[in-house]
Amino acid sequence: MATPLPESVIEQTYYLNMGPQHPSTHGVLRLFLKLDGEYIIEADPVVGYGHRGHEKMAESHFYEQFLPNTSRMDYLSGLIYNHGYVAALEKMAGIEVPPRAEYIRVICAELNRVCSHLLWFGTYLLDLGGITPFLYAFDDREQIMDALDRITGSRLTYCYCRVGGVARDVDAEFVRAIRAFIERLRSRFEDYHTLVTKNVIFIHRTRGVGVIDRDTALRFGCSGPVLRASGVPYDIRRAEPYSVYPRFEFDIPTGTAGDVLARYTVRLQEMEQSLRIVEQALEGLPEGPFKGRAPRKVHPPKGDCYFAVESARGALGYYIVSDGTCYPYRLKVRVPSFGNLQVLTEVLPGTLVADTVAILGSVDIVVPEVDR
């Protein structure tokens, strides 16, 4: 006589490893899911597959040498990472930056943000199963990359900012290309809205899915579009203004629903705001040197410093402890994706596997940034 089955078999739940190699985990992220049918009961993101020890690496390099590492943490908004790092150093060592350099940095950072959001837009649709918008977004992104390539020399992992300025001046051709691009992208938004935003399937896939409410978002330390989509108008560029951002007029788009659609909308609106900033910056781009006076090697005074900028994914902070030498004593990077990733444990249970992909995509994780 067969004995009744043990409870573990009867219980219709099972575990599913999503990743570390899976088409939609955007890198080597592993989601450990407990499923009941296709419903998720528990979700546990497992990180660290891409750990490279950037922070420890910094301790054995002098300050300038860490510059290329910054853009490799978040390879999608490397210029903003560059910017944050040199700004932190400048704040610490008290180095003046000529206004033209600041303008160029802001232009590049905002273009980089648009670039990152465009890539997110494309890959997000890819997660939802729409393949064509990905190519359209890449078409637009290519224009930015070409323009940035012209002045920075790279297309992805930039190392453009220097302490006290930038590595290379911009020329008229660049300004012309960017102006043309702004026009072009604005007209392209129409198509994006027709193709994606108004699409009934897209709306059904996103509305009300993966709601992160205001409290949860704050509790988990979310930042960037994720936080703003939950109704908190927090943006470092406004909250703790740096560089020349106070000179520009731009809005901080926020959502209220906190769902995937809200995050999508916030990012799309953010791109438009970034274009506004770039437009203003190009208008007011001052003449002058693109690199100020700065020592060849920075020797910040003893002490510590925290400097935060708004990356494409949220609040990015560098915390540098200096012992007075040209090597940092300790460098800590506060990355936005980490906080944003943690929310998944709270948001995923109760959703379907298909929603997992949608939600994971919507918080826009860059896994090397999480792992560092």
Binding site: A2, L5, V9, Q12, D36, Y39, I40, I41, G350
Partner: protein, 178 residues
């Protein structure tokens, strides 16, 4: 027309095909009954049903043969397989065989078969005096809506009730997810 045609007698070919179909049917039936893996049983059943559909073809009714495929294979067997897959333990727990039971069942089955065989042999079968000639689907439809309309409607009701009943019995009351 063709040399091939002269080589093979169509009647012989049909007989060979008939033999193949019968073999299929019985193989399927045995697979449906003997292995312990339930999924194999269902697949065996499908094989057997396909064979029976072939037999229906030989009995002169392509319509019924296709309906057999459509309903039995397309609906019934698929739903059984689906049920097996959806609730995992249905195929995880494979009860062991119980020898006396198998033997008893075999004996009873053999006895029944013997009786049936004798009946088939000993009964003189007489064809009806007047035999109709109308095999069309139209007349099947006409019969279903006239002479057997009551049965037809009752069957519809039974199906409906079965669906509702199945939903009621298996519903766990609300969504499963927390």
């Amino acid at each position: 027309m063709t040399p091939l045609q002269e080589l093979v007698d169509p009647g012989l070919l049909a007989q060979a095909a008939f033999a193949v179909i019968v073999v299929f049917t019985f193989t399927g039936a045995l697979i449906a009954v003997l292995p312990r893996n339930i999924l194999y049983n269902v697949l065996g059943l499908i094989l057997c049903l396909t064979g029976i559909a072939g037999l229906f073809l030989y009995l002169g009714s392509p319509f019924i043969a296709l309906m057999e495929l459509l309903i039995y294979v397309g609906a019934i067997c698929i739903s059984i397989v689906f049920a097996i897959m959806l609730s995992r333990p249905l195929h995880l727990s494979l009860p062991k065989r119980h020898l006396p039971k198998v033997l008893g069942a075999g004996a009873v089955a053999l006895a029944v078969f013997g009786v049936l065989a004798i009946i088939i042999f000993r009964t003189p079968w007489h064809a009806a005096f007047v035999r109709g000639n109308d095999w069309s689907i139209t007349s099947i439809g006409a019969y279903m809506l006239t002479r057997y309309s009551l049965v037809f409607e009752v069957m519809s009701v039974v199906l409906l009730v079965a669906i509702l009943g199945a939903i009621l019995i298996t519903s766990t009351g609300g969504r499963r997810a927390p």
